[in-house]
């Protein structure tokens, strides 16, 4: 080791004042101190650095992890065969054009819609039989899809007067208790009386 190096060592160890060094040795000293600082930091962004930083983080709660998963961006990749893509597009087109329950029938100005509702908890079938069915059964059958005992159905009928009764289980004739209008049937019972109004009537036309 030269005398010059000896003085650098002493300056690095703090044994002598750096101002006492000649200018070229002060320059060398600054280089040595910069290199030491770089070595103490380690390489920025290294795998080791990032792994150790992650290990030092406290474990998140499940709720926070879920929130992070939901909000963080994810890359999703789908691999679909073109034939299946075309099949899916065809199915969507059919559903759009022919929905399960469309907007319903197109009504003329001389037609209206009537909804029948009856409560028959123990019934197996409920028909609406009336002048609009020529008093035949099996034409307007009510449904109880959820088996709660309430039977209902909607039909399109011509505007005007119609008489009807419910026929429960094919043989029991029952007057609709909710009809509001009744007429003697001439056979000792009461028919419900419907007055069907045009479904397409507006408030203005209905006033006429």
């Amino acid at each position: 080791m030269s005398a010059r190096d000896e003085r650098l060592h002493q300056a690095l160890d703090g044994e002598i004042d750096t101002a006492s060094l000649p200018p070229e040795q002060q320059r060398d000293l600054r280089r040595l101190l910069g290199a030491a600082a770089l070595l103490s930091q380690g390489p920025p962004g290294s795998v080791h650095h990032r792994v150790m930083a992650a290990l030092r983080q406290p474990r998140r709660s499940p709720a926070r992890r879920l929130a992070h998963w939901l909000t963080a961006p994810h890359a999703l990749t789908f691999a679909v065969r073109p034939i299946w893509s075309l099949a899916l597009a065809a199915v969507l087109a059919v559903v759009a054009v022919f929905p399960a329950h469309g907007p319903g029938p197109v009504l003329s100005a001389e037609e209206g819609i009537v909804q029948f509702v009856g409560r028959f908890p123990s019934a197996h079938s409920v028909d609406v039989v009336g002048s609009f069915t020529d008093w035949r059964r099996g034409i307007v059958q009510l449904r109880d899809d959820d088996h709660d005992g309430t039977w209902d159905g909607s039909v399109v009928l011509p505007v005007g007067h119609h008489e009807y009764m419910f026929v429960v289980d094919g043989e029991q004739w029952v007057t609709d208790p909710l009809a509001g209008r009744y007429v003697a049937d001439g056979f000792g019972r009461q028919n419900a009386l419907l007055i069907v109004r045009p479904a397409v009537a507006t408030a203005a036309s209905a006033r006429r």
Binding site: G104, I113, V155, G160, E163, R181, R207
Partner: protein, 216 residues
Amino acid sequence: MMPLRVLVLAVLAGALPVQTGNSRLRGRVPAEALPAVDSIVASAAAAGLPTEPLIEKALEGAAKKVPPDRIVSAVGAGAERLRAAHALAARGGSEPSDGEVEAIAAALARGLDADLAARLAAALPDEPPGPALHAVADMVGHGFHEDSSVSLIVSAAGTGLRGMRLLDAAAAAILELQRGLSHAAAIDAVRHQLPDVPLPPRPTPVSVSHAKRVPT
């Protein structure tokens, strides 16, 4: 002298509704009732009355397994009501439509007195009596006095309500009654609303989308 071709057409035109009714009745209406029902239907057709309600009444009796004599009796009573309805509807001098006659007959079948019906028709000379009669029948069916009911419906017509809208005036009075008003107070309340009585509720979108046309 009437040409033969015209005579044949006239006979066919008169017989057609009866034949149509016959074909619908045969096999469904008891054979014992058929001659009498045929006779009543033919007589109604000859008088220019609608025959469809009579055929329907016979089919109804058969569907309900009513004895033949009661079917004939009910069809005869229906023909009488149609005659009364036709007379009422034709008071203005013009020939009423079948629908109009049927509407009035249905109102009479609800128990309206013939004199009251005539009074109402006279009070509304420019109005087909069917809807007005049913409006009064609606109210009478809920305990309103006949005269008060006629008065309200005539007032409603006087404020510009026409046709089926007269039923809404009756419905408004019934609604007030169901809300707890007395009959007189309900009529007063509606009289103050006129002519702005509510329209009937429109069918729900679900009931419209599920509605099926009855096959004819």
